[in-house]
Assembly symmetry: C2
Homo-oligomer: 326 residues x 2
C-alpha cells in the first residue's frame, strides 16, 4: 500500500451546527448559533450545514431556522446547506433563499420507520418531488443515507441495501450522497466493502461523502480507509459535537479537529485553520457547559490558553514530560 492513493485535497462538510447541536437539550440562542457559524467560516470551513427545516416538534433545537438564516446573509460564498424532510420543509428553505438542501433516507426499513414513519420506498417516493423541485430551482440536493453499516434493530447492513438506496437517490437527481454510520459501529473492512459495491454499481467516489460517528472510536480509521478509496468529501463536527442517543457517552460525530490533525499530518489540503477552529470549539464548549469530546481540542486547549487570542505562530511544544517511562 502506498500513501500515493490519498487525495491531495479534502473538502470538509461541517455538520456541527446541525448534526452537532440537534440533540442538545437546552435550546441555544439563535445569536450563539449564528456566531458559531460565523466562527466556523472564519476558520476556513467552506461548507457548513446550518440547520434543518423539519417540523419544530421533531427537533425543537432547530426550530429557529427562519431566524437563523437571515443572520448568515453576509457569509457570501460559504455553502450553507440545510436539511429538508419533505416538500413543506423545502418551501420554507426556498422562501429564505437557501441555496443547498439535503434529504435524509435510510438504508434500513427499521430506521426509515422510526425516523420517517415510512418504508424505505415510501420515503424515496416522498423525496422525489422534493429533489425535482429543488433542482428545478437551481438548488443542489445532498442525499443522506443513514445506517449504512449497522442498524440498532437489524444488526449489520448488507452493502446491497445501501447501493439500492444510493442509486435511487442519484436517479432522483441528488448531486452528492453522504454515507452515514449513524450509530458509529462500522470498521474499516465494511467501508472498503461498501465503497467497492458502490463503485461496481457505477456510483463514482467523487459523488460520495462519508459521515462517521465516533461512538466506538472508529471514525478516523474509517475515514482514512474511505480516503484511500477515492472519497474526498468528509463530514465532521467541530469539537466532536453530537451526543449520540444510543449510548451513555459524550461522543458524537467525528471531530473536525481530529480529522484536521490527521489530514495536516498527511499533507492533505483543506483550507481550514486548526488553531482557529479549536478556539471556536472551546468557545462553544464553554457555552454548552461541558468539555469537547475531541481529543485534539483537549490536547490543544492548554496551548491556546497560554497564548493571546489571534496568535498565528506554530503550536508551541508541550511542557516537559514529568514521567519516567516510555
Amino acid at each position: 500500500m502506498s500513501e500515493d492513493a490519498l487525495p491531495g485535497r479534502v473538502r470538509i462538510h461541517e455538520v456541527g451546527p446541525r448534526d452537532g447541536l440537534q440533540n442538545e437539550k437546552a435550546v441555544i440562542p439563535v445569536e450563539v448559533k449564528a456566531e458559531f457559524i460565523h466562527r466556523l467560516a472564519a476558520a476556513g470551513l467552506t461548507t457548513i450545514e446550518a440547520t434543518s427545516f423539519v417540523h419544530p416538534r421533531w427537533v425543537p433545537q432547530l426550530a429557529d431556522a427562519e431566524e437563523l438564516f437571515p443572520r448568515l446573509a453576509d457569509l457570501g460564498d460559504v455553502r450553507l446547506p440545510a436539511l429538508v424532510p419533505n416538500a413543506r420543509g423545502l418551501e420554507r428553505a426556498l422562501a429564505l433563499g437557501v441555496r443547498e438542501v439535503a434529504v435524509f433516507a435510510s438504508a434500513t426499513e427499521s430506521f426509515a420507520k422510526a425516523n420517517l414513519n415510512r418504508t424505505v420506498d415510501e420515503s424515496l417516493a416522498m423525496f422525489e418531488p422534493v429533489v425535482a423541485r429543488a433542482t428545478a430551482a437551481g438548488v443542489p440536493v445532498r442525499g443522506y443515507v443513514s445506517m449504512c453499516f449497522g442498524d440498532p434493530w437489524e444488526g449489520a447492513v448488507p452493502p446491497e441495501r445501501v447501493v439500492r438506496v444510493a442509486r435511487r437517490l442519484l436517479d432522483l437527481g441528488c448531486a452528492e450522497l453522504s454515507l452515514g454510520d449513524t450509530i458509529g459501529v462500522a470498521t474499516p473492512g465494511q467501508v472498503t466493502a461498501l465503497l467497492a459495491a458502490l463503485g461496481a454499481a457505477g456510483v463514482p467516489a467523487g459523488r460520495l461523502a462519508v459521515h462517521f460517528h465516533d461512538t466506538y472510536g472508529q471514525a478516523l480509521a474509517n475515514t482514512l480507509t474511505a480516503l484511500r478509496h477515492g472519497v474526498t468529501t468528509v463530514d465532521a463536527s467541530a469539537g466532536g459535537l453530537g451526543g449520540c442517543p444510543f449510548a451513555k457517552s459524550a461522543t458524537g460525530n467525528l471531530a473536525t479537529e481530529d480529522l484536521l490533525w490527521m489530514l495536516e499530518g498527511l499533507g492533505i489540503h483543506t483550507g481550514v485553520d486548526l488553531r482557529r477552529l479549536t478556539a471556536t470549539s472551546l468557545w462553544l464548549a464553554e457555552r454548552l457547559g461541558r468539555p469537547s469530546p475531541s481529543r485534539t481540542v483537549r490536547a490543544l486547549a492548554s496551548q491556546l490558553d497560554q497564548e493571546p487570542t489571534g496568535a498565528t505562530g506554530p503550536f508551541r511544544p508541550s511542557p516537559a514530560p514529568s514521567h519516567k517511562e516510555p
Copy 2:
C-alpha cells in the same frame, strides 16, 4: 488497496497495569493491581506488562513490584513482562523469577536526557549489559523506542534516528522492539514512512510492535496503517488508561477495547473477549473514580449494565433512536 494485506491474527501487548497506571497520583493497593491483572488474563490477554523495576522515587505508583509479582504466580502461561531501566532493576526482576523484561530507549536526545539523564548512546551503553545478562538467563528483552514520531522539544523525528536506535537495540539482543508515539502526535503517513525505513534497514516487521497514544485521536488510524505494513503486535491499554502528562486530557494509550472493536470487525483473531475486558475496565474505572476514556467502553457500558454478570450472549441492540435526523 485490498483488505488482504491485513493479518489474520494480532497479539495484543496489554500495558494497562504499567503504562496505564504509572501516572496515577493516588497509590493503588497491590491487591487491586493483582486483581486487575488476573481479570485481564481471564479476558484472554496473553501478554500483560505488569509493572516496572525502576527506582521507587521515579514512579512511586509502581514501587510495589516485589509485592505484586508473587501474587501473579498462578497465571501460568500468561506472559508478564516488566520494565527494567538498568542492571539493578534487572537483578530485582530476576530475583523474583520475572520471565520477560523490557528496556526503554529514546529516539531523541531531548527525551533521553529528560527520561534517563543520558545521551542516546550513553543509554544504549547502559542497556548493553542488561540485555546480555537477561538473555544469558533465558529472559527475552523487549526494547521500547520512545518519541519515534514527534518530540515535545524537537518536533518531528526523522525516521533515520529511529532506525539507528532500533538497529542498535536489535544488535544488543532485543527480541522485539516497540515503536512508541509517546506524545500521540503521529499521523498515518509517518507510520508508513518509519516502517518503510525500518524495512529498508533490514528490521523485519515481525520483530516490531507499535505503541500509540491517543492524545490527538490518531491511535487507531495509525495502528490500522501499521497492520497493513505487516506489524502484528499492538500495544494497548485496557480502558485507554494512561493519562498523558503533556496535555490537560484524560486520554492516554490506545484503548484495548477500541482496538478490539476494530479487529473484531475486520475478522482479525486476538483471543480476547471484548465483553469481559470492558467489564474489567468498568470495574477499574470505579476504583479510580472516573470514567474510562475509551469510546468503546463508554458505548458498551449501558449494555453491560442491563445484563447479569457473566452473560455471554451477543451484545443486544442499542435502545431505539430518539432523534429524527441522519
